[in-house]
């Protein structure tokens, strides 16, 4: 397609692919790198295949993504025709998987066969499921046209591009919807901040159903750089991961701090590893200073460290901060940094009024990365995507992040101070403790429960289930929870109480509970 104005992601990918057609798009450990031309042709074919099945703009396509040329191409094919892809956790417990499917109501599910994934239990007659590794599918795709679909012109910038599921406090995951326009802005931001060139090689360590993968995928494949898919098996064994990465020489690394801490604790890094790395960027949670110092010793002299922040609802990243040697000496957590240009943050009190500089308040975020809302949930969307309370003349949408922050009076940078609710981050995974409680409370022998998160010397990063239960068998309870919750949401410890402490309103007093646990 020849057009100088790329108003959707399908057009942008097509342009980037034609400009870099013989260049490597997907850099595989086992060799046989995949070129931009191959991905462009394959995604055109899949797009035409989807159109032939009457799938088009606004239709949802669910994907169990194994980070292959085929699965990336399915994502790009959806973008080319305005179908909304959603990468679902292949290892999700079946009950949670069913909830996500119910919310996003896909027209088609693409999967790969693996005895450990959810497909061994999933059944539906509402839509078709296609094994994209099956030669039959590849044969079918090969007989449709390979041209860029003309249908693409109908994909307007406000068309949803993807749905990213995150934990919900009502016991149901929430599907965050992000538009083409949101991501087009995000790509330009990333290119500018990281000075991306077509020689860059991005790691894709983050699972595709996890928000951080948005950076890996879009900051690389939509700028002419290349991406290195890293499977889950390799991430569990960090020394092997580093050895494999030494073969493909990445330049930009993005992960949660937990992944880097894991590598440090497993002594997976050597001074000579990853010699071409120029940026380590991390986000999703705070980086413990003692661990950051260790990493700085390895790479501080040659690698740029960038601390980033952003909720899933605002397209992965909203602010960034370049770490300096001075920051490493100080003990306090790093600032979230300045909001991205073209973006703003408001710090407000409970009445929605702006607080004074230096005072703590909730962060409201405004700008072109603010997503569309929650899929099939108008009520929640209206609750969190609201009009800027400081603008009365028209509705200027801001996202209520629930993050408590303050602004440094001198630098105006944002500093993270905690959460307004019971949302936590562990290993970078965001979760609502109420979602865990909701599942626990559905067990018939549990009388009452409260789930707390404590990260101190006594309990290092522990999810603790406090239960009043007629059966006090940890394993039995864990076995039930495993059917409903992913492993990162399972409680680490179970404590049993005759009665849980209550506040004056008769609600469970979490603060008192935490105090009791810490004694």
């Amino acid at each position: 397609m020849d057009c100088n104005y790329q108003y959707n992601l399908g057009q942008l990918f097509d342009k980037v692919a034609r400009e870099n057609s013989d260049k490597t798009a997907i850099n595989l450990f086992e060799g046989n790198d995949v070129t931009y031309n191959t991905v462009n042709v394959l995604s055109n074919k899949i797009a035409n295949f989807l159109l032939s099945k009457s799938i088009g703009r606004n239709d949802v396509v669910a994907i169990l993504n194994n980070k292959t040329a085929m699965s990336y191409s399915i994502m790009i094919a959806c973008l080319k025709i305005g179908a909304v892809y959603t990468n679902l956790d292949p290892k999700s417990p079946i009950e949670r998987f069913n909830k996500m499917v119910e919310i996003c109501n896909p027209k088609l599910l693409f999967y790969y066969s693996d005895e450990n994934n959810v497909m061994s239990e999933f059944k539906t007659d509402k839509f078709k499921s296609i094994n994209y590794a099956n030669p039959e599918f590849i044969k079918e795709v090969n007989v449709v046209g390979m041209d860029f679909p003309a249908y693409n012109r109908e994909v307007t910038a406000n068309t949803p591009a993807y749905i990213m599921f995150t934990s919900g406090s009502t016991g149901f995951p929430k599907g965050v919807v992000i538009s083409h326009q949101n991501i087009l802005n995000f790509i330009e931001w990333s290119r500018t901040i990281y000075n991306t060139t077509t020689d860059d090689v991005f790691t894709n360590i983050n699972p595709m159903h996890f928000d951080n993968s948005v950076f890996d995928f879009y900051a690389s494949l939509f700028t002419g750089a290349s991406i290195v898919p890293v499977g889950e098996n390799l991430t569990r064994n960090p020394r092997k991961l580093v050895e494999a990465l030494n073969q493909v020489l990445p330049t930009i690394w993005f992960s949660v701090p937990s992944m880097l801490v894991y590598m440090l604790n497993m002594r997976a890094l050597k001074e000579t590893d990853l010699p071409t790395l120029r940026v380590v960027t991390y986000g999703g949670e705070g980086f413990p200073k003692n661990q950051l110092r260790k990493l700085w010793k390895y790479w501080g002299h040659s690698v740029r460290f960038v601390n980033v922040y952003g909720p899933t609802e605002c397209t992965c990243i909203c602010s960034s901060y370049d770490v300096s040697a001075k920051d490493i000496e100080k003990d306090e957590l790093l600032p979230l940094g300045h909001m991205a240009p073209n973006f703003y943050g408001l710090v407000v009190n409970d009445d929605g009024k702006k607080v004074q500089l230096g005072e703590i308040g909730e962060l409201y975020i405004g700008g072109p990365n603010v997503g569309i809302g929650y899929y099939n949930d108008i009520k929640k969307t209206e609750e969190f995507f609201i009009g800027n309370p400081g603008v009365e003349s028209h509705k200027e949408i801001v996202y209520k992040s629930g993050d408590l922050v303050k602004q440094d009076p001198d630098t105006k940078m944002f500093l993270f101070c905690g959460r307004k609710d019971n949302q936590i981050k562990r290993m970078g995974y965001r979760m609502e403790l109420e979602e865990i409680e909701h599942v626990i409370n559905s067990i018939d022998f549990i009388k009452e429960s409260a789930v707390v998160y404590i990260d101190n010397k006594k309990y290092s990063s522990k999810i603790i289930a406090c239960l009043n239960s007629s059966d006090e068998d940890d394993n039995k309870i864990a076995e039930i929870l495993r059917k409903y919750l992913p492993s990162y949401m399972l409680p680490d410890l179970y404590f049993y109480f005759r009665q849980l402490p209550k506040n004056q309103n008769g609600k469970i007093d979490r603060l008192k509970l935490k105090e009791e646990l810490n004694q």
Binding site: R236, M266, A268, L269, R482, S487
Partner: protein, 75 residues
């Protein structure tokens, strides 16, 4: 020492103690992810008073491999 290792495996990976004598791998144990792997290595080092090298840790992806690697340090 073997008993001690088996107990650590049972506690950190939440597998029944009788299963720890088998040669289960990372793929066989459902919740043997990176977080539990880190807890496992930390527990082994703490309880047995040893410090494993990065290369050795990289090999410790099955029960038998764990037992034989740890044996190098303890014996």
């Amino acid at each position: 020492m073997e008993k001690k290792i088996n107990q650590i495996l049972a506690d950190t990976l939440k597998v029944p103690l009788e299963k720890t004598t088998e040669d289960l791998t990372m793929d066989d144990v459902n919740n043997w992810d990176s977080l539990t792997h880190m807890n496992l290595i930390v527990a082994i080092e703490g309880e047995l008073g040893i410090e494993l090298s990065g290369d050795d840790i990289a090999e410790m992806i099955s029960f038998n491999a764990i037992r034989s690697t740890v044996a190098k340090y303890v014996n």
